[in-house]
């Protein structure tokens, strides 16, 4: 009885060992690639929401959980900050990168990840033919971030027809987060 | 939660129940079509050339044949004797020679052993009736019951249950009320109606005998309101009897159903699967009361009854006093024959009656009418799928769900059909009548009952 149990344990151990060995190997191979992909995606998003930093650099400010963007390598020409917003949408958490200039005005936003209702909520990423940017995200440009509201709440952001929840979620989350970030940065500076 | 909901719903039922009139719940209102014959006085039907008397005309054990082919018999002579309690004998309804004892078509369907008597035209009586009625008050109760059984009396409303059995409840079930059924809720039929008008006194005397037998404290005569003349007459004649009351009932089918009538008359419910005697009453048809009176007071066996011959397929609809065993075609000829060649012949009323393949079948003790329909009334439309409109559930006087039971039977799921109350169905036909999809619900249910019997027998 005991012998048999030991035998089973041993066999299972061998199998799991072999499996973990194989996984470790594959992980070794793919890890850098995956990390690079993630970095690339973030980088793309960051340079999109912080225009003017394309040739400059973006420095993570870990203390405030934001990125600072500069136009030049020597970090003298401060352009703005970028931060991630995670809004609770209709059916998913929506990850948006937001770029703010030093006055707290939105430069650009980019929705990077969402699993909203196809055809409704996903319209927040829709790029109309002949345009280069998602039309819905474009309307955030140049507006003072903490005051952002969708039209149904008396604001200026036109909500997506049939997807008020998605629109409101993104808008409110950006407004709320930018408020605290602006407060914080004023204190630190 | 569940308990509260059930309690609330029961309360609703209760309120609805107390508001409800003297009627059972459900039921249908078919056109009564009684105008064909309701004012026609009962005529004596001329005696036929031969009569066919099935040995089995009642519910219960068959009776034992006493005669042989070739024998001569007289009117009223017993042709069989009952060897068991739940059984009644049959009697010769004319005098003549026994031409055959063989299987003949029975109006209830199938073939049945029958005695065929050729008429000798004399109509000689085996035991001629006394000129004056016998004083029944002096006859002892057991003797009365024996006379009723010997006279071959079985319920004449259609079910044909031996009357003496109904009158012998076990001692732990005392009977306090007798309900006399003069409802006649089947459309077209007027036999009981005419009888109540023309034989009022005899019926009441019969009722008196019945009450004496079971020691009933009171009697109620239930009559549907569409027979206003009968109600008036009965009320007039019973005025001096405190024990007997006449109860006019709303016109609704099946008001004459035993359990429905009891509900309307007494507000008592016969327990499911039980008998009226369980709640202290028995129901007898008016024609049975008359037969009882004649059997006791004139020693006259049950050899004739009132038959309504009616319907759009009959040239001259009539109410007949006809001998048992008279072939249908004889009665139909006596009513002027068919109006058309394509007809549907029905034994009984249009709601519960059985279609006959041939007009050679005889009148039996339970034949209240012969209905002949022509094409205009014969409904032969196609069955459509059930749309669960709930009409059958609403009208079912037994509060069953005919749609479900029928569909269970259709799919051979007899156990579920039984769980839904298959055996409680009284086959009144209200569900099939009302069904907008023209589904043959009662037919399925009857079929299901047959399947159930077969299943129980085989197991």
């Amino acid at each position: 009885m005991l012998r048999e149990m030991l035998k089973y344990a041993l066999i299972l151990m061998c199998v799991t060992l072999a499996a973990s060995g194989a996984l470790g190997f594959v992980n070794q191979l793919t890890q850098p690639k995956i990390a690079a992909q993630k970095q690339l995606e973030l980088q793309k998003g960051l340079s999109a929401v912080l225009p003017g930093t394309a040739d400059g650099i973006i420095v993570p400010d870990e203390e405030n959980a934001v990125y600072r963007g500069y136009a030049n390598q020597d970090t003298s020409d401060f352009r703005g900050i970028a931060f991630s917003s995670f809004a609770k949408g209709y059916s998913s958490t929506i990850w948006t990168l937001v770029g703010l200039d030093s006055n707290g005005t939105v430069m650009k936003i980019r929705v990077l990840g969402q699993q909203e209702t196809p055809g409704l909520g996903t319209k927040c990423m829709e790029i109309r033919s002949g345009e280069s940017e998602p039309w819905w995200q474009a309307q955030f440009e140049g507006k003072f971030a903490p005051d952002l509201r969708v039209d149904k709440d008396g604001g200026e952001i036109v909500s997506i027809t049939g997807a008020t929840i998605t629109s409101r979620a993104i808008t409110n989350d950006i407004a709320a987060r930018s408020g605290t970030i602006i407060e914080k940065l004023k204190m630190t500076e | 939660m569940n308990i509260i909901a059930t309690a609330l719903l029961d309360l609703v039922d209760l309120i609805a129940g107390s508001v409800r009139s003297r009627a059972f719940s459900g039921g249908v209102h078919p056109e009564d079509c009684k105008h064909y014959t309701e004012h026609k006085i009962i005529e004596q039907c001329p005696l036929p050339d031969y009569v066919i008397i099935p040995l089995q005309q009642h519910i219960g054990a068959p009776s034992e044949c006493l005669v042989e082919k070739g024998m001569s018999v007289k009117t009223g002579q017993p042709l069989s004797k009952s060897t068991q309690f739940v059984s009644v004998p049959v009697h010769a309804s004319i005098s003549g020679r026994i031409a055959a004892i063989e299987k003949r078509p029975h109006p209830g369907g199938n073939q049945s052993l029958s005695i065929v008597i050729e008429n000798d035209g004399k109509d000689e009586w085996f035991d001629p009736a006394p000129d004056t009625p016998i004083d029944t008050d002096n006859i002892d109760i057991d003797d009365l019951k024996q006379r009723i059984q010997d006279a071959g009396i079985a319920g004449m409303g259609g079910a044909s249950f031996p009357t003496h059995v109904k009158l012998s409840p076990p001692s732990d079930k005392p009977i306090d009320v007798i309900i006399l059924n003069g409802v006649e809720c089947e459309p077209y039929l007027t036999a009981d109606h005419r009888l109540m008008l023309e034989k009022t006194d005899e019926i009441l005397k019969g009722l008196h005998i019945l009450m004496r037998i079971v020691r009933a404290k009171k009697a109620i005569i239930g009559i549907e309101k569409n027979k206003a003349d009968a109600i008036q007459l009965m009320q007039k004649k019973t005025k001096r009897w405190k024990k007997i009351s006449v109860l006019p009932l709303p016109v609704k089918y099946p008001q004459g159903g035993e359990k429905q009538l009891i509900r309307a008359a007494l507000k008592r419910q016969v327990p499911a699967g039980g008998l009226p005697m369980d709640i202290g009453c028995i129901v007898q048809n008016v024609a049975t009361a008359l037969a009882v009176y004649e059997a006791v007071a004139f020693r006259k066996p049950l050899i004739e009854r009132i038959v309504t011959v009616t319907g759009p397929g009959i040239t001259e609809p009539k109410n007949f006093r006809a001998r048992i065993g008279t072939p249908f075609h004889h009665l139909i000829t006596a009513s002027g024959g068919y109006t058309t060649s394509d007809v549907k012949i029905i034994h009984g009323g249009p709601m519960m009656g059985i279609t006959e393949l041939s007009d050679q079948v005889p009148v039996i003790k339970g034949t209240s009418g012969i209905l002949v329909l022509d094409q205009s009334v014969s409904d032969l439309s196609r069955e459509q799928p059930c749309i669960s409109c709930a009409r059958c559930v609403d009208v079912c006087p037994m509060k069953l769900m005919p749609n479900r039971i029928a569909s269970f039977v259709e799919h051979d799921r007899i156990d579920e059909a039984v769980a839904y109350g298959l055996s409680h169905c009284i086959e009144c036909g209200s569900c099939s009548y009302i069904c907008p999809a023209k589904r043959h619900l009662v037919h399925y249910i009857k079929h299901g009952k047959a399947l159930l019997v077969r299943k129980r027998n085989s197991s």
Binding site: T16, L23, V26, N27, P118, G119 | -
Partner: protein
């Protein structure tokens, strides 16, 4: 006992989706577009193939009492490999399939085949079985995805089929659309089968 039958049965008469009703969860989730369907299909084919091979190789050393945990470990390993490789080299596909790749582990088709076939047969037949089942799964997924993508998005393999005035049937992209499509397809198959049987008899 023909090898051809081992391969073909998974595609038609024992199609895992339409006939065995296995793996319906990933079918619902990943049949929104033909690309997703093909991606999911290839991932399943890979995992199924590898797990069938390994299981049929080790089948004689695996004690019956602990075969399920061993099969699961084998399958999970390959699923994780697919997940990692896809994340590294096909990031876009990984993004849209992301959540469903790890779920392949519990996809009944794979454990089902290991249990019903690979655990009892040799390597070569197991390979054929895995290929047949995998192709059958992919085929079913692609057929469903074709309906859903064309109706629900107006595209096929990402190529717009109708003009801009086409208004896609959103429901088809949502999960009810998958239920309706699968139901109708299975109904259609059963119906034609039934009709054929009636014709034969």
């Amino acid at each position: 006992m023909s090898f051809k039958k081992d391969l073909i049965k998974g595609i038609f008469q024992e199609n895992p989706v339409f006939r065995l009703m296995l793996g319906l969860c990933p079918v619902l989730a990943t049949s929104t577009s033909v690309q997703n369907a093909l991606g999911m299909g290839s991932a399943v084919i890979f995992v199924l193939l590898c797990s069938n091979i390994i299981v049929s190789l080790v089948r004689n050393w695996v004690p019956a009492k602990i075969r399920i945990p061993i099969y699961i470990s084998i399958i999970a390993t390959f699923v994780t490999i697919v997940d990692l490789v896809m994340a590294g080299y096909l990031p876009d596909l990984h993004k849209s399939l992301g959540l469903f790749i790890p779920l392949i582990v519990v996809n009944c088709i794979i454990l089902g085949r290991a249990e019903a076939f690979a655990g009892k047969n040799g390597v070569f037949r197991s390979i054929l079985d895995a290929l047949g089942m995998g192709i059958g799964f992919t085929l079913a997924l692609t057929i469903i995805a074709t309906f859903r993508e064309i109706l629900g998005n107006g595209t096929w393999m990402g190529v717009p089929l109708f003009g801009p005035s086409f208004e896609p049937v959103l429901l088809m992209i949502l999960s009810p659309g998958a239920f309706i499509t699968i139901g109708l397809l299975i109904g259609l198959l059963n119906w034609t089968d039934h009709a054929r049987k009636i014709r034969h008899s």
